[in-house]
């Protein structure tokens, strides 16, 4: 198997089955959220759309979520007058059925049921307001940031990534980001991969391009920058690339490239063969026998 064939196999393994339980759960949950928002904001001039990796077609099984944008019309105040009011209004509405974790501009939905408390539903709701009547640009509320609003355009972002010609490399880099625990913000990683692979010296072939991207990150970790295609000057993404993050990117990229030199891509992404649940269950029995735990809880 050539490196590119191996990586294609990994990509197939990371593709969520369109008929599978994971996507079905996600879609059912999506319907629940839409129904809840429609119920809570009846008659509102509100547009709910699917965004994120689902829309960008860069979803991976290892770490996936569904972004739902909930944008209100420019002169609609059903959820509130200000951006912060809208953010809090949507949050309050979602809290009727979910445990809601606030993120910078999104609201993460988790279970509030007793038997699955805090289970992550992999859904982020992004409240916002259209900046004008043409319904293209939106303003998002930014929680805990100096600048409390951000102008962006989701359509432009989605187009930029979906039609970048780098979706395979982006998906593999997202897998790398998840399995190495790097936790670089996904949007930043996607933009970085596109920018790197648009360089004239970027090679052809998935394996070669992946290596090129990693080498670039390793060699330029201290200086590389990315820009939001929807708002290159107004959306400052540099806060996601502070010195600690850059040092981590350099370290992990260096280690990954060493692993590739030593063991090939299999040293990074593991074997292609899926280990069955039964085999993993048998393995975990021996692990807990060797290293038993007996957790407690103080009252």
């Amino acid at each position: 198997m050539t490196p590119s064939e191996y990586l294609q196999n990994i990509l197939s393994k990371q593709t969520l089955d369109p008929q599978g339980d994971e996507l079905a759960d996600l879609k059912n949950r999506q319907q629940e959220v839409i129904a809840l928002l429609n119920r809570e904001f009846p008659g509102a001039d509100m547009t709910i759309s699917v965004a994120g990796s689902f829309a960008k077609e860069t979803m991976i099984r290892e770490s996936y979520d569904l972004d739902l944008t909930c944008y209100f019309g420019n002169d609609d105040s059903s959820a509130g007058d200000t951006l912060e009011d809208i953010y809090n209004g949507v949050r309050k509405a979602l809290e009727k059925d979910f445990r809601v974790g606030p993120k910078t501009s999104a609201l993460r939905l988790r279970s509030c049921q007793k038997d699955s408390l805090d289970k992550d539903f992999h859904i982020d709701v992004v409240p916002g307001r259209y900046s004008g009547t043409e319904r293209a640009d939106v303003f998002l509320f930014l929680k805990s940031r100096d600048k409390c609003r951000l102008k962006t355009n989701l359509g432009v972002q989605i187009q930029h990534i979906r039609f970048s010609g780098c979706r395979d490399e982006i998906r593999l880099m997202k897998l790398w980001n998840a399995t190495t625990g790097l936790a670089l913000k996904t949007f930043v990683l996607e933009l970085a991969v596109i920018k790197i692979l648009k360089l004239p010296e970027a090679p052809w072939g998935v394996a070669e391009r992946l290596r090129f991207a990693l080498e670039y990150l390793r060699d330029n970790a201290d200086s590389f920058t990315v820009e939001d295609p929807a708002n290159p000057t107004g959306n400052d993404l540099s806060e996601y690339l502070d010195s600690q993050v850059r040092a981590r990117v350099k370290r992990v990229a260096t280690r990954t490239l060493n692993d590739v030199d030593r063991d090939g891509w299999e040293g990074v992404f593991g074997p292609v063969e899926e280990v069955s649940r039964t085999r993993r269950a048998a393995a975990i029995v021996s692990v807990v026998r060797e290293n038993p735990s007996r957790p407690w809880l103080a009252e």
């Binding site: 038997d115 190495t180 735990s293 007996r294």
Partner: protein, 233 residues
């Protein structure tokens, strides 16, 4: 207050070294005077090339580290955060019963001892629950103070609360006296009976911890039985 990692730069650089060499999927960072270790914890098993289970975790180092253990959290929302899964309301995990921690790691463990011991064992426990549908044979402790009494029952191989009370009296005394009768009720002097057990647990359970449970037990006992004549419990 100066953060511990600035007070003790040697310890911090040692942790950096250990993490970088042994835990390539975990990453140290500092945020607002607090140090975190975040990333992916892989539970591996012999003969399996890929991890049996992986969890995204966060270890938050407290300001009095290494006297206190890091707080451990699962950050991807895979495990429900409730009492049955041994998570507090703030999302931190309760890895072990403090009285029984010596079974898993020493006091003031090195970071690798902490991760390889209670942290991995805790997440392997959850992986077992997720993969097999039931808790591992080691089970879990009941919540709250009941578990502490059970712990002493197990250690002393008794079901008699009075034996535990006497034992705790010896655990919490400043010095163990040779003329004391054994807590087990044999009537023999302690050195000729279970002195080793007293010394074993005195060396492993902090006196303050034993004292706190001793007092709780005394209170519960006096509530249940009423005051004894002569003021003795």
């Amino acid at each position: 207050m100066t953060p511990w990692f600035e007070r003790d730069r040697h310890l911090y650089s040692k942790i950096v070294q250990v993490v970088e060499s042994q835990y390539p999927t975990l990453h140290l960072s500092q945020e607002g005077g607090t140090a975190y270790l975040r990333g992916r914890l892989n539970i591996t098993a012999p003969l399996l090339a890929s991890p049996v289970a992986s969890y995204d975790i966060e270890l938050e180092f407290p300001s009095d580290y290494p006297d206190a253990d890091p707080l451990v959290r699962e950050t991807a929302g895979i495990i429900p955060k409730d009492a049955d899964h041994h998570f507090y309301n703030d999302g931190s995990a309760c890895l072990f019963l403090p009285e029984a921690r010596w079974r898993q790691c020493p006091a003031r463990p090195a970071i690798a001892e902490f991760i390889e011991g209670p942290v991995k064992a805790f997440f392997a426990w959850h992986a077992h629950l997720a993969l097999t549908g039931h808790k591992p044979p080691s089970g879990d402790w009941r919540h709250g103070i009941d578990a502490i009494l059970l712990f002493y029952f197990e250690e002393l191989q008794t079901r008699d609360v009075r034996v535990v009370r006497t034992f705790l009296g010896y655990m919490t005394a400043k010095k163990v006296r040779n003329h004391w009768r054994c807590y087990c009720g044999s009537g023999r002097p302690l050195p000729q009976c279970h002195m080793a057990q007293v010394q074993f647990l005195r060396a492993r359970i902090p006196r303050a911890r034993a004292l706190s449970f001793f007092q709780a037990l005394q209170n519960a006992f006096s509530c249940r039985n009423g005051p004894r004549p002569g003021g003795q419990n």
